[in-house]
Symmetry: C2
Subunit: 346 residues, 2 copies
């Protein structure tokens, strides 16, 4: 069978080859409806665009580069699904680079994505990064850039984040409503804004509910299972043990849960626990983990929309950076349920 050409698609839709070509290349003069029709017909007819030839002609690669700290954190995997959904609907492919939380690798990754001639970059910043010159380089080259979740507003680029303050506030208030009164927080490195915001949300929820904020009950971890376990052990050695813990994210919460389970002083259920991020495992551990969902797919979709709008938009007018803030959602499970009377003293 002969290979399907744009002429076959044009014929099937009773339109011109030029229109089909423009639609397939996401040209602004073609309506969204037409683009959708052309693409679905192209797929039906098994049309294979010669991407290499067409990108050499246009100078566009029709590829979006996504920089993530780690593919093993399901939060990022989930965001990528949102990015891919929108990208594919608009005829773009997605290449990934993982920084492994390292500044050096992040710099290498940005260079690699630029070398690969991606049309735009979506990125979440590595834990270790405290310099952002590589992102400024992307800006200087006028390659559209959108930051998500771990974003730096000072860079003057569009960002998509959730309201971390609100999520932490909701998590802490949920524990208060369950009747817990000595609520500890295992925080993250506070130079990273999202972690700092979660600390603020925790503090304000306590204060607004007339509970004291105790220095002893705030410990700083490294955002890992091991660190969650260590910090929780530390909390369990306090004279006055906390009756609940809000962990900065789910891996920390998982480590804390292990420490609680190993402790002779408590049974699961006696110490309330809430995490943050709704990682894939959190529904399946015992007790299942109450956590804060970050609308990951929506985050990916929004980031993709922003970067694609910048890519396909009018290049002569620079648009102002946009900031999209998504609402977090509390997912109530067993780990925060008040199952027994609070032990008065240990």
């Amino acid at each position: 069978m002969a290979r399907t050409t744009i002429h076959d698609i044009a014929k099937a839709l009773n339109t011109t080859a030029a229109t089909v070509s423009r639609a397939l290349n996401d040209h602004p003069s073609i309506s969204e409806a037409t683009k959708v029709m052309v693409r679905s017909t192209a797929q039906k007819l098994n049309y294979q665009q010669n991407r290499m030839a067409s990108s050499l002609r246009s100078g566009k690669s029709r590829v979006i580069g996504v920089m993530i700290p780690s593919a093993e954190i399901s939060f990022f995997g989930s965001v990528i699904h949102g990015v891919e959904e929108i990208a594919q609907a608009r005829g773009y492919n997605v290449l990934l680079f993982q920084s492994n939380e390292s500044y050096q690798q992040e710099v290498q990754g940005i260079q690699t994505l630029l070398q690969s001639n991606v049309d735009g970059i979506i990125a979440s910043i590595a834990k270790e990064s405290t310099r952002y010159d590589h992102y400024l380089e992307v800006k200087k080259r006028h390659t559209p850039l959108v930051l998500f979740d771990r974003a730096i507003e000072d860079l003057g680029v569009s960002t998509v984040v959730i309201d971390d303050y609100k999520g932490a506030y909701m998590a802490t208030e949920h524990l208060i409503e369950q009747g817990y009164t000595r609520i500890a927080h295992i925080a993250g490195p506070s130079h990273i804004k999202i972690f700092h915001e979660r600390l603020r949300g925790y503090v304000d929820a306590l204060t607004h509910n007339n509970l004291p904020v105790e220095e002893d009950l705030i410990v700083y971890g490294k955002v890992s299972i091991e660190s969650g376990r260590e910090r929780m052990s530390q909390l369990l050695q306090l004279k006055q043990v906390p009756d609940a813990v809000f962990a900065v994210e789910d891996f920390t919460a998982l480590g804390a849960l292990q420490a609680i389970k190993e402790s002779v002083w408590s049974q699961p259920g006696q110490i309330g626990l809430v995490g943050f991020a709704n990682e894939a495992f959190s529904a399946y551990i015992t007790p299942s983990l109450t956590t804060v969902d970050q609308q990951t797919t929506a985050m990916g979709r929004e980031a993709a929309q922003l970067v694609l709008n910048a890519i396909t938009g009018d290049a002569t007018t620079e648009t102002l950076p946009q900031k999209i803030v998504l609402d977090p959602k509390l997912i109530m499970r067993d780990s925060s349920r008040r199952t027994s009377l609070k032990p008065d003293t240990f």
Copy 2:
């Protein structure tokens, strides 16, 4: 602002675009002095060379492309770490593309990686793929290609796999040693070789231990939590319920565990369970999951070595495809432990 072109550089230096192009591509007809001047002007004007076009002409990108079915399966995340370790040590970067188990997306991904001018490709095949013309295209272009885990030997390329037969044999024999006698198998799609090999290992372990192979006890799932749950429910409705299950991989095992927990007929521990892949969650669920470790990091390292040797090797002599088979490792945890007497009948 418009993107800087070679014409802008030529204008700034009062020379021709052809000279600029040759200088940027290190052409021997251009003097060193001119090359230096062109490069410094290019940098000053923020010129981004179209590496895609220029490397098609000459150079290497020093990038390895890795095609994975899903970044959310930690098995693949782990393999990537092994790939990155070796790649970085040899000055290469790694770009990822996820097929989401779709043939269409896998084809798109291979095109995207080729278009990005990667020096070599490491890939694991999507569940849905039953045609491999896109991989033949990679071969035809003489871009080094190595397949790992879900590999097709007929393609005549180098492969890195573990001994799935042996892993399944070990898993099943472990259940037999624990005293289970009615051991079911939730299999995967058997057109995928690794799943077929695991089925063979299960059957042979039973046979060699003088246990009957019962058709009723072999069910075929779709390699997902949901499918594991469904297939297990089906097994729990048998007149003679199995006393143990070997699941083809950990997500299937997780679904099976949920079905077991929900069943009124059993308590966790009464039905022995073994998975395959040692996914990140498997140590943390209750009961913790006995599973087969696939030496993921070693697999990534071996694949990277093979592809880099092909990239840097003598291009005039085609080397024969190599096949590396790694040994699996049984990880014993609670889910397979014999904790109670076998209930005689249900």
